[in-house]
């Protein structure tokens, strides 16, 4: 009934391919990693995998010993429960159960049977195995004339086994166009094309690649690739109304571009991005901007989501591992338990952005700088003053509300989720932060505390019957009262200025005795009254004491009851809990303004906004690094059970993933946890990072990686097409100083990279997805290259580097390179989503590639392309001697990097004539012959030849 879906075909093709490649002989042994693991991962592990909580029948199939306890009898498929179940036709017993909607194909069932028959050998998932030593890998391969570089030996070997070979190489003009786009994101100039075509001396390719790698345009091109991974954007995201701009995100972008240009070793590059502040850099070092990797992500309201995003960019982006799946439960498919997720959480959570970011550069305009400094300190002062005043008001209100918070505690609420803190508050709303501080404060007291001892005692009884509560209450309060009586309860004992603090606070004991609480909630109300009364008395007495000092005021002696009583130990015992350092009310001014009522909070954020605006747009605002700072005494991290921050599980230490071999159990040092994490990322024992980097570079040169799921090297990702090559390059990358430029040379000087991108029916049939690289895939310019090429073709491109972002939608266009465009993650510009730019809300390891008519509408109708075309037309006009033919040739060279053929020139001339005669224009008549030249230039820029690479 439904049409056959092309996807199914693609999948079938894939199976066929694997069939062809890996099962060349019918009797070949089943390869666990390649053939069995994907079946288990897709169909079994959801219920019989790493997730302990969701595991059914206590059966685990991803661990050899567990599986062989019951489900698998090695060497005897027919006796294995697993086989009986997958072959079963009974819906009650068949696996996977019909409800999952998953079924195994006959071929898959056969693989499982053969595998068990052959002994059910397990092996570790390829990605977690150590990187193999590169020399033996290479030496195991036959050498060949065609193999210009080591990578060719790996590729040719596989092609040959499949009966295939490389495509014919491209010509020199095509090669320089391909290489220049690859490294600079721009077309070569005609002079460069000519020079390269004429450079027939040996090693001309090498010289070309070296020259391209030396260009600052290289950093802009590859920096942009990296910014995809880093989910770079210039706005916060998630704002309710309007959006907030990062004033300094550009410093991270510029850091990245610079790092590529100077070929900063990637291991160092990664370390700086995770922990630049912990590498002993001098104050104000520009490399501090590297920490933008952590901080330019989406600004979630809930810090747990922000940390989740940081874990995601580190693990998925740099290691190809989807660790954030383990936030709520053990990873369903990969060996990443929830504890590992929280170990990383603990490594990041103590780090926060400071309120003042460090300047990492100067402002050339001294006058502007001075004015900026003046305005900033002025605004800061005003904000601080306002915050301090509002904090006073808030604290005094909170001191009146002891009963409110104790009542909440009496309900048994453990801790409040801080993620809803943004909601506007009314005076009588519970503030989650204050509530949590109450919990902490009370937890630090003992049952001997004069004021809260009775509270803690009552609380410790838990849920007892009313009768039992009464009994214990009378007994307990009787004892307290008696102890107080024994001291003597005369006013001079209890309220004397110099008296001793009583063992039990008389106000509390008396109030409890008088009102006889029937529950902890009752006690909360009683405490509330006592505290509110104390707060009122105290504020009143301050006012009265103050009035004594007013002109005409009556001065009272210190021994006067008005001074004496309020300052007596029993009063002070109560006030201790209201005013002591660390008490629930000891809030920072910043915290306090967030907790004030709506209008006040809005006013305060308005003042902050003014500072923000100043940083953002003042010409005197220096560049600053978006750093984080780590608290050296962090609170312990506990697992959030099922991802719920209110359900705290075991305490975990800051450490690395347990699946990776080596020093994962080593706990990171407090205050340098991110440094520890950065070391783990690049450590010898971590095979993932180097492989992911190699794959990333490969993908950006060949359109697809050796692993075609670049952000999932886990069990459900695709296995590498050339595992040996991946390991060879990963090992060599480390041995060659983690140099990206070394890696580019290895790839770009190969024969593989020189191949043409022509279709080949035979090869396509054997290897429909070009996994063996029998040709260079056809590539289309991405958004940035397309826009920059148009600017470049008409000599308009402004090569200024760095600085605050520009508006890509501005009209007239700002002719800077697209990498400097403002990226708004709140409102993703239509232009950018139309052309498949990276989604800035999460790490993008591979951009989607769509063909939608909005793209071609842009090519047909946008002002941008028509303005560039008009400029190209006028640019080529005064060329001397300006025959039409010369002008056509100049245009084609600037747009398509080649000289047009005679026929093409003739066709263009015909078009020029037709377009300028008998054609009505929007104005009615065609009086300007230049119009036709613009139309011609426009058509060239819109053409497929301009948009696709050979």
């Amino acid at each position: 009934m439904f049409p056959i879906h092309p996807l199914r075909c693609a999948r079938a093709g894939l199976c066929l391919l694997f069939g062809a490649l890996s099962l060349t002989s019918a009797n070949a042994q089943v390869d666990f990693n390649r053939q069995v693991r994907p079946i288990l991962a897709e169909h079994c592990l959801q219920c019989h995998g790493p997730d302990a909580e969701k595991r059914s029948a206590d059966l685990r199939l991803d661990v050899e010993a567990e599986a062989k306890k019951s489900a698998i009898v090695a060497g005897a498929a027919a006796d294995s429960e697993l086989i009986l179940r997958v072959l079963s036709t009974d819906p009650e017993t068949v696996m996977p159960p019909p409800a999952t909607g998953k079924t195994l194909t006959d071929a898959q069932k056969e693989v499982l049977q053969q595998w068990i028959q052959e002994g059910a050998k397990y092996s570790q998932h390829w990605a977690f195995q150590p990187i193999a030593d590169s020399e033996p890998l290479l030496n195991a391969l036959p050498s060949s004339e065609a193999a210009a570089m080591p990578v060719d030996r790996f590729l040719i070997d596989k092609l040959r086994k499949a009966g295939l070979s490389y495509s014919k190489p491209v010509n020199r003009a095509q090669f320089i166009r391909r290489a220049t786009f690859d490294l600079k994101g721009l077309p070569p100039t005609w002079a460069e094309v000519e020079a390269f075509e004429n450079d027939t001396a040996e090693r001309s390719d090498e010289r070309l690649i070296d020259r391209l790698l030396e260009s600052p345009r290289y950093g802009e091109r590859w920096g942009r690739h990296w910014l995809d991974i880093a989910r770079y954007a210039d706005t916060h995201g998630g704002a309710a109304i309007g959006f907030t701009t990062f004033p300094f995100s550009y410093t991270y972008r510029d850091y990245v571009i610079n790092a590529f240009n100077k070929d900063l070793p990637v291991d160092r590059f990664l370390q700086e991005q995770i922990a630049a502040d912990q590498l002993g850099l001098p104050e104000g070092d520009p490399s501090l901007a590297a920490l933008g990797f952590l901080t330019v992500g989406m600004q979630f309201r809930n810090s747990n989501d922000t940390i989740d995003d940081q874990i995601d960019v580190i693990t998925r982006g740099l290691m190809g591992l989807t660790v954030t799946c383990a936030r709520c439960h053990d990873h369903k498919f990969d060996p990443v338990p929830t504890a590992d997720y929280y170990a990383l959480y603990a490594s990041i959570a103590p780090s926060k952005a400071p309120s003042q970011l460090p300047a990492i550069g100067n402002v050339s305009n001294e006058q502007a700088r001075q004015q900026y400094e003046r305005e900033l300190s002025d605004l800061k002062l005003r904000h601080q003053q306002f915050a301090r005043e509002q904090n006073e008001v808030l604290r005094n209100r909170l001191r009146m509300q002891v009963g409110l918070y104790l009542t909440e505690i009496a309900k048994g609420v453990a801790e409040q989720d801080l993620s809803t803190q943004f909601l506007s508050y009314r005076t009588d709303d519970i503030r989650p932060l204050v509530f949590n501080r109450w919990q902490t404060w009370l937890a630090g007291l003992s049952k001997d505390d004069a004021v809260f001892g009775p509270w803690l005692e009552l609380q410790s009884w838990g849920a007892v019957s009313a009768a039992e509560f009464h009994k214990r209450r009378d007994e307990y309060l009787g004892r307290l009262s008696a102890e107080l009586d024994a001291i003597g309860r005369t006013p001079d004992k209890l309220h004397a200025l110099r008296g001793e603090a009583p063992k039990w606070n008389p106000f509390i004991v008396d109030a409890l005795m008088a009102q006889k609480p029937n529950s902890l909630s009752d006690a909360a109300a009683i405490y509330g009254t006592v505290f509110a009364e104390q707060q009122r008395l105290w504020l009143q007495s301050i006012l009265e004491s103050t009035n004594e000092a007013a002109p005409g005021g009556t001065v009272l002696p210190d021994e006067h009851p008005q001074h004496q009583i309020i300052n007596s130990p029993s009063h002070r015992q109560i006030r201790h809990h209201l005013y002591a350092a660390g008490s629930p009310f000891d809030l920072s001014d910043d915290d306090a303004v967030r907790l004030t009522n709506r209008t006040i909070a809005d006013l305060a954020s308005g003042k902050k906004g003014a500072m923000h605006q100043l940083n953002l747009s003042s010409p005197g605002s220096p560049p600053r690094a978006m750093i984080v700072e780590e608290d050296p005494n962090p609170t312990p991290t506990q697992i959030f059970v099922r991802g719920n921050p209110l359900a705290r599980g075991d305490v975990v230490q800051a450490r690395f993933l347990s699946v990776l071999p080596g020093d994962h159990s080593q706990v990171y040092e407090n205050g340098k946890r991110r440094f520890g994490l950065a070391r783990s990322l690049i450590s010898e024992s971590n095979p993932l990072t180097a492989r992911v980097l190699v794959n990333w570079a490969w993908q950006n040169h060949f359109g697809a990686g050796l692993v075609r799921t670049p952000d999932d090297f886990g069990t459900r990702g695709q296995a590498p097409t050339h595992p040996e090559l991946l390991d060879y390059l990963a090992d060599q990358l480390r041995k060659n100083g983690w140099s990206m430029k070394w890696l580019h040379r290895q790839i770009m000087l190969s024969q593989a990279y020189r191949q043409g991108s022509v279709e080949n029916e035979h090869s396509r049939q054997v290897d429909p997805e070009n996994q063996l690289l029998w040709r260079m895939p056809r590539r289309r310019l991405d958004f940035e290259s397309m826009r920059d090429s148009m600017l470049s073709a008409c000599d308009e491109l402004d090569l200024a580097m760095g600085g605050r972002p520009i508006d890509l939608n501005a009209s007239p266009a700002v002719p800077r390179r697209s990498v400097y465009g403002f990226v708004n993650r709140d409102v993703i510009a239509n232009l950018m989503s139309t052309f498949d730019t990276a989604n800035p809300n999460a790490c993008t390891a591979k951009r989607p590639e769509t063909t939608v008519p909005q793209q071609t509408l842009f090519a047909l109708n946008s002002d941008f392309i028509q303005d560039r075309a008009a400029r190209l037309a006028s640019l080529t006009k005064p060329m001397n001697p300006a025959t039409d033919e010369d002008r056509i040739i100049a245009m084609v060279r600037r747009t398509l990097c080649r000289t047009p053929t005679e026929t093409e020139i003739a066709k263009a001339r015909t078009f020029l004539t037709e377009a300028s005669t008998n054609t009505t224009t929007a104005d009615g008549v065609n009086s300007d012959p230049e119009r036709s030249w613009s139309l011609l230039a426009h058509a060239l820029m819109a053409s497929n030849e301009f948009t696709f690479l050979d």
């Binding site: 049409p3 092309p6 979630f300 409102v827 929007a922 060239l940």
Partner: protein
């Protein structure tokens, strides 16, 4: 019919607006995500299109579809229950200033805010027991549109267009109409998130009366059509020569086709938005003003095969009547009442109502108690946000006719009988479109994502039996 169109579309390698990105599947560049292509429906769906009317800001249920006489009795007194916590403090019971009456055969009560729409109740299911999680506009909008109030997730419209593809290649499959600005949360309401960008809603500002200005780059402002035709011919000639040396290349072929499509769309797409082509009695039926006009536009779009049309009442949060609900709600209801009624009548008379699901909702409701102003008095005569309970209605597309589902408490504060979450609503909508919400998954970053995450139950009682 839908299947044959689809088959045709596959065969011609079409890559319409919002259509499946076929190059993705056919070139070597991308096959990494081989589970990421479109899918078929799981079972024959009841609806093929959705018109999602979003009355953004929060519609007061006790003033529209959920009459509460108790509020009249308690006028000026505190409710006998504790006022539930909402964004701001609320006080005494505020009776509805609007009159409720029973309408139609079904006798569903609707207030006099909707004199026209109330005549159509026999086509509707009214759900009176919706609830959201928090009294915050943005979070509730995200919940209603994407199923997650915090994280960046694809919208309902993106999921559906990803799943069902496009019927008309000349128009975007998912269109969001909003006059004069953006709702709170902006493009987040119709984003595709991790689904390919092609499935993002195309936003159109309907305050612009000129239909040719509605889609980016749809018209060439500098060239006459004669000039453009000549240029286009030359361009495609260049492309043909380029292709001749590079045979069998899907990506190149796709872009050539895409040029043809774009060229045609220049006129066809403008037509779809041009309501001046409608006969006068139809224009009259919908009424004046951008809200009514865009509902007529929605019908024209659905008629041309657009999958998912969302109409937003306006910029920011027009239904957010914190004060003077009597006048404020009256004003916004007047702006869309005739259009909403017309939409139901018009779709029905064209035989399109059965295959078009209309969903009319806000992000949450409003409190039955009066909002306390700055001075702590209830002089505002307005209502605060209320996520504890609210109403919405649906019509067409296999939804039951003339039914009320669920109930709030005596005061209309909280959903108490058959409470319905956004996930339940989404599961039900997917069901009506032919999808099992538990099986409609998309693999991203190693996880199979669902619109309903791990929640959601289809509300069977509101589905029309066949």
């Amino acid at each position: 019919m839908i299947n044959s169109t689809r088959r045709h579309w596959m065969r011609t390698c079409g890559m319409g607006f919002g259509g499946l990105a076929l190059t993705n599947l056919l070139t070597d560049a991308a096959n990494a995500e081989d589970s990421n292509g479109a899918m078929h429906t799981h079972f024959p769906g009841r609806a093929k299109h959705i018109i999602h009317v979003f009355l953004n800001g929060g519609v007061s249920q006790v003033d529209t579809f959920d009459p509460k006489p108790e509020l009249n009795r308690l006028a000026g007194q505190m409710l006998p229950i504790e006022n539930l916590k909402t964004e701001r403090k609320t006080g005494v019971a505020l009776p509805s200033p609007f009159k409720f009456e029973k309408h139609g055969q079904s006798g569903i009560e609707v207030s006099d805010l909707f004199p026209h729409l109330s005549k159509c109740v026999d086509e509707m299911t009214v759900i009176r027991s919706m609830y959201a999680e928090l009294p915050s506009h943005e979070m509730s909008l995200m919940l209603m549109n994407t199923g997650d109030q915090r994280l960046v997730r694809p919208s309902l419209g993106s999921w559906l267009t990803w799943g069902m593809g496009s019927i008309n290649e000349n128009l975007p499959a998912f269109i969001a109409l909003c006059p004069g600005g953006m709702p709170v949360g902006g493009a987040g309401n119709w984003r595709s998130a991790f689904l390919p960008g092609a499935y993002q809603g195309t936003r159109i500002d309907t305050s612009n009366a000129d239909p040719t200005r509605l889609i980016d780059y749809l018209q060439n402002k500098r060239l006459s059509s004669a000039e453009q035709s000549k240029q286009f011919e030359f361009l495609q000639q260049l492309n043909a020569e380029h292709q001749a040396d590079r045979p069998g290349e899907a990506a190149i072929e796709s872009r050539i086709k895409s040029f043809e499509l774009a060229f045609r769309m220049q006129t066809e797409a403008s037509d779809a938005f041009d309501i001046s082509q409608e006969p006068e009695h139809i224009q009259k039926l919908y009424g004046d003003g951008p809200q009514n006009r865009q509902l007529l536009m929605a019908r024209r779009l659905v008629e041309r095969g657009v999958r998912f049309v969302q109409t937003w009442h306006g910029d920011m949060q027009p239904w957010d009547s914190h004060s003077n609900i009597k006048d404020e709600h009256r004003k916004v209801a007047n702006e869309c009442d005739s259009g909403l009624a017309a939409l139901i009548i018009d779709l029905k008379q064209r035989g399109l109502l059965d295959e078009t699901l209309i969903l009319c909702t806000g992000e949450f409701g409003r409190t039955p108690s009066v909002e306390m102003g700055q001075d702590g008095s209830g002089a505002s005569q307005g209502r605060d946000h209320n996520h504890w309970g609210f109403s919405l209605w649906m019509a067409g597309g296999g939804i039951k006719k003339g039914t009320v589902y669920g109930a709030t408490d005596d005061f209309g504060f909280k959903a108490v009988e058959n409470p319905v979450s956004a996930h339940d609503l989404h599961a039900t909508i997917l069901h009506l479109m032919g999808y099992d919400h538990q099986r409609m998954t998309y693999r991203y970053a190693g996880r199979d994502f669902r619109l309903t995450d791990v929640h959601g139950e289809v509300i069977r009682p509101i589905i029309e039996t066949t």
